[in-house]
Amino acid sequence: MPIILTENSSRLETQEVQNIASSGGLQLKHSEVEDFRVLLGNFEDCVSKILSAEDYLPYPDLKKYPRTDIHIPNTTDGEKGGWATRCTIKCQEPIGSLLTGKTLAIKDNIAVAGVRCTNGVSSPEGDWVPAYDATVVTRVLDQGAIIMGKSTCENCCLEPGSDTSCIGEVQNPFADGYSCGGSSSGSGRLVSIGAVDMALGGDQGGSVRIPASLCGIVGLKPTWGLVPYSGILGLYPAIDHCGPMTRTVPDNALLLEALAGPDGMDSRQPAFLPPSCSNFSTTLDAFLATSPLDRPLDGFKIGVLKEGRDLAWMDPNVSSAVSSAVSGLRQLGATVVEVSVPIHTEASATFVASIPFAGVRHGLLDDTAGCKQLYTSDRAAGPSPRLSQTAFDGLGAGAKDAYMRFLYASTNHGAKIHAKCANLFLKYARAYDEALAGVDVLVMPTVPRPALRNVPQDSNMGVLERLSIWNGMLHNTAPFDTTGHPALSLPVGFVPAPEDPSVALPTAVQIVSKRFADVTCFKVAAAWERKFDWKAMRFGF
């Protein structure tokens, strides 16, 4: 390792070098001790110099992007749990007009300078208030959007429900007491009820698409790497996605157009976007304007993913709704075939196994290292990070479970498990690629069941029971986080809540296309949305 030695560098005490070596189970020769006194002393000089130097972070120009009215909402303007923190931000000199006048909510795991960012957990040391903006925040502001605040995010982004955030329960827009889905729960609710026009969500296992499905809005998990993740708290880079949540497909394309493209800081992203992978909105508009009104999907081939549909725990009414939506696609001219991708049944289990090692280190311990990307260095972990008892007790069931699995995996398996999972993800990606070589999109229910009831805040329900009720809900969403394929959730009708048929809850179809062909998802979804009114469709009542 090339080193730079200076004449008058510090030296460590002999005892300290010996202690460090024995903490690593080593015994140094005497001459080695002397050498390392110099080398480590020199290293410490270097590190202290770096740590005391100014960081390189995207601090916003607060004159250009002024933020006002920052406050924690009370019970009346919190929109039933939707808002975590309110603020108003508008760029004074936008460079584009894609989102002029549109109001936005930003998921509470995305850095907005000067506004607390909870990530769904209350920190014993007080809330994190970043001094910089995530790239996506700057991008929407540059296109004329008005940010209205931070939307509630579930506990450490590790929960598919909407009752685990430190903010409190988020109520389903169509039925109080029911879940919005998570972890972008607040974004789902706020867009659905019209409190904002659009919202940003994050998706590591379905966290954009699950709330989109349960709240009756359009949510896209874009191709991995299409939208920069810089300045967003994540689980780990291979599965981190940030995506648009909107009421309509054209709005979704508009927001994606504002968000997409490399920012030069994020190694998840390609250096250049593939050709025809931008201008999502104009491409979609042109498609809608030129395709025949009755049969816009002539020539499209749609694959119904068998392993995504034939699930033992599939709600029959969700199945009917999705089957009906597929019939609608056929009416619009598409050819429909059944497609089998056997690894789909195992992908979500591999996803779950991959979380503890890398996901906990990144997501829970801020023990981040290794990728070329913007680090949230102001919250990075100190020496030998472990969760305190208070911190552990403040976690949701999903995060607690992940942490315990991390401790278990660290003791019993180590990096092997993560390495194996990561390679299997490559295998899965190839399997979907092969299926998508024969069809334009794969379709399946987004979530196999309608929204569940929220668990009340004062409930003493245990970790196991809490995790059991959501069992199998990520079956169709998580696989595409591991492979990076774009996946869009489109509402297709109402189904009754299983325990109360008088409660009507939205359900959705998921449309998956080739990587970087996000616009194909838009075309199929927009054609359906233009012809059919999902709010007038009811199944199983």
Binding site: P316, S320, S327, R538
Partner: protein, 597 residues
């Protein structure tokens, strides 16, 4: 009377009940108010309320009963007077024609435009302005006359009818008094049109003539001293339809006006109906005592009638009927008290019990009719008449006949609403369903196919109609396509699904399920898997063993109606959608009554 008419006119029933015109509804409100007053008093005086508390259900029942009794008494009185006195009624109907331009100027016709924005010089009688007959106005007039089976006159002329009033700047109205453009038509009224029972199944009312004329300006009164005039309406083309005095009951008179309106609307001759002022009726009423010497008066070529009075400007069907009843009763009272009926013009206000005198015979204006020298005779070619006759939409009478004939086989109760609903859109949809159904059922026995029209009628009107009503939605032929409905009916006819399943499937499609019917049936596992005889016997025996006393009642008292209850039990306990009522009934008869299987 109103209710009997409502029963026959579902569309009107819907609109009227929405407006809370239902006599029961108002009574209901009254009673509630009364009841709550009493409750307040009972709280104040702390008396026990239990004794004078009458349950709401009972109140409603009593209300309905007393109303029924009142109606019965009124009917009896009417019948007695009808046996003694014969009523004769003739009707004049003014209808606004659906035209672009006015009758004698190029100004546009309008009802919603800014007042006095569509006025030509002639409409305001500017000195020197001349009438210019607008030929296109003739088309709706001719369509109406042809639909009323009139003889179109090759030559007709325009006359001036003089009177001086601020709503007519010329000082005369141009009409066709001496030589109208259409004569000698007729209209057939059937019992389903709501004619009085004493008129039998059908009655034909002659149309004496149809004439073209101008409308007057619209007046708006702002008492005490302001009157505003809107000349947009001056010279709007009207037709006046004059019937022969051949109507002898108030109900038939109302039915006649209603049917004329329907005919005018169906051939697209008029702008709006009575409810929006596009149609107004005047009635001529006279009576004479049966068995006495004939009267000395003659109207429209029919002699021997009593002195008539004219009631002007009736603007609803109910007003026509009620005004005639009131005027008839008034004339009877006058004559029975030894008086004489004066020839006079009378008015009627909605809700009153008596007509009121407007002007007497002595005050009758002299219209000084004279041919209009500014307008040439109107010459109508036979070719135009023939072309219009050919392109006229099928009349509702012909449609009723078609739907009740063998190919559709609908009962009148279904045929009539089908024709009336959504201006014929429902009928078109129904015909599509029947056509598709026939092609789907080609492989079936022709005998079995005979009932398809009737079955389809039931599904289109009652099942689909019921879903629309329940969801409070307006008609949309796309919501459940004719193809889908025909497929559902086809499956029921083939007994591949049960009736309740079919209703469930219809409701699913109605709720937005886009799946083709065969796919839907398969995916939802709805296709009937017939139960075995053993299954039926098991279900029946379970129901029988649980209710021995009812079985005994059926056996000993022959209360066969209770079998239906058992069928219901079997359908509830059996697997949903698999128990067929007919088979269940047969098994029950076998087990309970010992009938041969």
């Amino acid at each position: 009377m109103l209710r009997s008419w409502l029963r026959q006119s579902p569309r009107a029933l819907r609109s009227l009940t929405n407006l809370k015109c239902d006599p029961f509804a108002s009574q209901f409100h009254l009673r509630i108010a009364h009841h709550s007053l009493r409750s307040i008093r009972s709280v104040q005086t702390a008396t026990t309320e239990s004794q004078d508390h009458v349950p709401l259900r009972k109140q409603l029942k009593q209300g309905a009963k007393s109303l029924k009794e009142h109606k019965r008494q009124r009917r009896a009185a009417e019948e007695a007077s009808r046996e003694k006195w014969e009523l004769t009624v003739g009707i004049e109907i003014h209808a606004q024609l659906n035209t672009e331009a006015k009758l004698f100027s190029r100004a546009a016709t309008s009802s919603a435009d800014l007042p006095n924005s569509n006025v030509a010089l002639f409409d305001l009688a500017f000195p020197g302005s001349q009438p210019e007959f607008q030929i296109p106005t003739l088309l709706p007039a001719l369509r109406a006359a042809i639909a009323l089976k009139c003889e179109i006159q090759p030559v007709s002329r325009f006359d001036r009818k003089h009177y001086f009033y601020q709503d007519q700047p010329n000082g005369y109205q141009i009409t066709q008094y001496y030589e109208p453009f259409a004569r000698n038509g007729y209209i057939d009224l059937y019992s389903h049109d709501g004619i009085a029972p004493e008129d039998g199944d059908q009655v034909r009312i002659g149309i004496k003539q149809v004439q073209l004329e101008q409308d007057t300006a619209k007046s708006q009164e702002y008492p005490p001293s302001m009157q505003l005039l809107d000349f947009n309406r001056v010279s709007h083309p009207l037709i006046e339809i004059i019937t022969m005095p051949e109507i002898h009951t108030p109900a038939t008179a109302a039915a006649c006006v209603r049917k004329i309106q329907a005919i005018l609307q169906s051939c697209n001759a008029v702008t709006t109906g009575m409810e929006l002022g596009g149609l107004r009726a005047d009635v001529n009423v006279s009576i004479r005592q049966r068995g006495e010497a004939l009267g000395t008066h003659q109207y429209g070529g029919i002699g021997g009638l009593g002195q008539r009075t004219e009631i002007k400007n009736l603007s609803s069907f109910k007003a026509v009927e009620d005004a005639i009843i009131a005027e008839k009763n008034r004339q009877i009272a006058v004559l029975e008290n030894g008086g004489v009926v004066e020839g006079e013009t009378r008015g009627w206000t909605i809700g009153s019990t008596e007509t009121r005198r407007l002007r007497g015979k002595e005050g009758e204006v002299d219209y000084r009719y004279m041919p209009d020298p500014d307008l040439p005779p109107l010459i109508i070619g036979q070719d135009l008449v023939a072309e219009l006759t050919k392109t006229l939409p099928t009349s509702s009478d012909a449609l009723v006949e078609m739907l009740m004939a063998k190919s559709y086989g609908l009962p009148i109760e279904d045929a009539k609403p089908l024709i009336e609903l959504e201006d014929g859109a429902r009928l078109e949809y129904y015909q599509d369903v029947v056509d598709i159904l026939h092609s789907l059922q080609q492989d079936q026995d022709p005998k079995a196919r005979g009932g398809l029209g009737r079955a389809a009628g039931n599904w289109v009107l009652h099942e689909l109609g019921g879903l629309l009503t329940k969801a409070d939605l307006s008609w949309d032929a796309e919501r459940v396509s004719a193809q889908s409905l025909a497929q559902i009916i086809d499956q029921v006819q083939r007994k591949r699904i049960t009736g309740p399943t079919a209703k469930q499937v219809l409701s699913m499609v109605f709720d937005g399920d886009l799946r083709p019917i065969p796919q839907l049936l398969e995916e939802e596992n709805l296709i009937l898997r017939p139960l075995s005889r053993e299954d039926y016997v098991a279900l029946a025996e379970m129901a029988i063993s649980q209710n021995p006393q009812m079985v005994e009642q059926i056996r000993s008292k022959n209360q066969l109606g209770k079998l239906g209850w058992f069928v219901g039990q079997m359908m509830r306990t059996g697997e949903k959608g698999r128990v067929e009522a007919q088979k269940a009934d047969a098994i029950l008869r076998e087990l309970i009554l010992g009938e041969a299987p």
